[in-house]
C-alpha cells in the first residue's frame, strides 16, 4: 500500500498490515510513533542516549507483538506509553543504584533575554524538577501536561483510576511549583 494512503489508517490497522508483511506499514508507524515515544522517554529519563535506547526497545516490542495484536481492543499508543514508562522505570532504578550524580546540571545564570534561550532554560529546569518527583507522579504529570493526554487514557496507561491520576498530577504539580519557586527570576517570571 502507498505511504500516502497509509497516513489515513489507524495505528492498529497499520500494525495488522505490518504483521501481514506490508513493507511500508513499519515506516508509517515509526514516523508517527517514534517521536512521541522518544519525547516521552526523554522527559522521564532526562538522558537522550537512554531515551533513544528505550524508544528502539519499545518499538521492537511493538513489532514482536504485531502478529498477536487484536484490533480494537486497545490503543497502540496506550500500550506503547505503558511499555515506555516501564522501560524508563527499569533504567531509572539502575541509574539510581549506580550514579545518582550523573544527571547533567543546568548552568547557573543562564541567559533568559532571548526567547529561545528562555524556552530552553524553562524546559531544562522543568525536566530537572520532574526528575526529583516520585516515578508515578512524574509519569502522570508528563502524560497530562506535556504529552497532552486526557485523564482516562492516562488511567489506562498507568492502570489506575481516573481519580488516582488526578491525585498524582495535582501532587506532582504542587511539588514542581514549590521546587521551582526559588528559580522564578532565572525562569523569566520575576524581574524584581
Amino acid at each position: 500500500m502507498a505511504l500516502d494512503a497509509m497516513s489515513d489508517l489507524s495505528d492498529d490497522a497499520l500494525l495488522v498490515l505490518y504483521a501481514n508483511g506490508d513493507p511500508d506499514a513499519a515506516r508509517t508507524l515509526t514516523l508517527r510513533l517514534a517521536p512521541r515515544v522518544m519525547a516521552h522517554a526523554y522527559r522521564l529519563l532526562h538522558d537522550r542516549a537512554e531515551a533513544e535506547d528505550v524508544t528502539q526497545d519499545a518499538l521492537l516490542r511493538l513489532w514482536k507483538i504485531a502478529p498477536d495484536w487484536r484490533q480494537g481492543e486497545a490503543q497502540v499508543t496506550t500500550w506503547l506509553y505503558r511499555v515506555t514508562a516501564n522501560l524508563c522505570t527499569d533504567r531509572l532504578r539502575k541509574v539510581r543504584h549506580s550514579d545518582i550524580d550523573a544527571a547533567p546540571e543546568i548552568a547557573d545564570g543562564a541567559p533568559s533575554a532571548a526567547d529561545t534561550m528562555q524556552a530552553t532554560t524553562r524546559a531544562e529546569a522543568l525536566t530537572q524538577a520532574l526528575a526529583d518527583l516520585p516515578d508515578r507522579q512524574r509519569q502522570a504529570v508528563v502524560l497530562r501536561h506535556i504529552d497532552g493526554l486526557q485523564n482516562p487514557e492516562i488511567a489506562q496507561i498507568m492502570d489506575i483510576s481516573v481519580e488516582a491520576v488526578e491525585s498524582l498530577t495535582a501532587r506532582g504539580k504542587r511539588a514542581l511549583a514549590a521546587s521551582l519557586g526559588s528559580r522564578r527570576a532565572e525562569l523569566g517570571f520575576y524581574d524584581g
Binding site: L31, L60, L176
Partner: protein
C-alpha cells in the same frame, strides 16, 4: 504572571503552564540514525515472522503399533486385561477336557465340574 509579593514562593498555575508549554516545544526528536535502526529492527522482525509463517509445521513421528494399541486400550490396565483374556483363551483352546477340568477345579473349587459352567460340553465328542 509576575509575583513580586512572594519571589521564592511556589510558582503559580500560569507560570507552571508556561514551563509545560516550553517543555512541549523542546521535545527531543529521534535522530535519523535512530529511525534507521528502528526500521531495520522492523524489517528483521517482519522477515522472521514471515519465515515462521512459511515454515511447515513440524511433522509428528507416527506412533508405533504398540503405542497405538496401548492408547486404544486405555493404557497398561487395558493391556494387562487383554493379555489375561488371551492366556485364558489359549488354555481353553489347547487343553484336553481332563486338563480343563483340573484347571477349572483349581480355579473354581475342588468339586466343580466344567460342565456346571460349560453345559454344552456334555454333548461334545473329544478326539483326545
Amino acid at each position: 504572571m509576575m509575583d513580586k509579593r512572594k519571589p521564592d514562593g511556589p510558582l503559580s498555575e500560569a507560570e507552571l503552564d508556561a514551563l509545560f508549554g516550553a517543555a512541549t516545544q523542546e521535545a527531543q526528536l529521534p535522530s535519523a540514525d535512530m529511525m534507521a535502526r528502528i526500521l531495520a529492527d522492523a524489517a528483521t522482525e517482519q522477515s522472521r515472522q514471515a519465515a515462521q509463517r512459511a515454515a511447515p509445521a513440524p511433522q509428528a513421528t507416527p506412533p508405533t503399533l504398540f503405542a497405538r494399541i496401548h492408547d486404544t486400550l486405555g493404557g497398561w490396565a487395558g493391556l494387562s486385561g487383554l493379555a489375561g483374556a488371551v492366556a485364558t483363551g489359549l488354555v481353553i483352546g489347547v487343553a484336553t477336557p481332563d486338563t480343563l477340568s483340573t484347571y477349572a477345579s483349581a480355579v473354581l473349587g475342588g468339586d466343580a465340574l466344567l460342565t456346571d459352567y460349560v453345559p454344552g460340553l456334555d454333548g461334545v465328542a473329544f478326539d483326545g
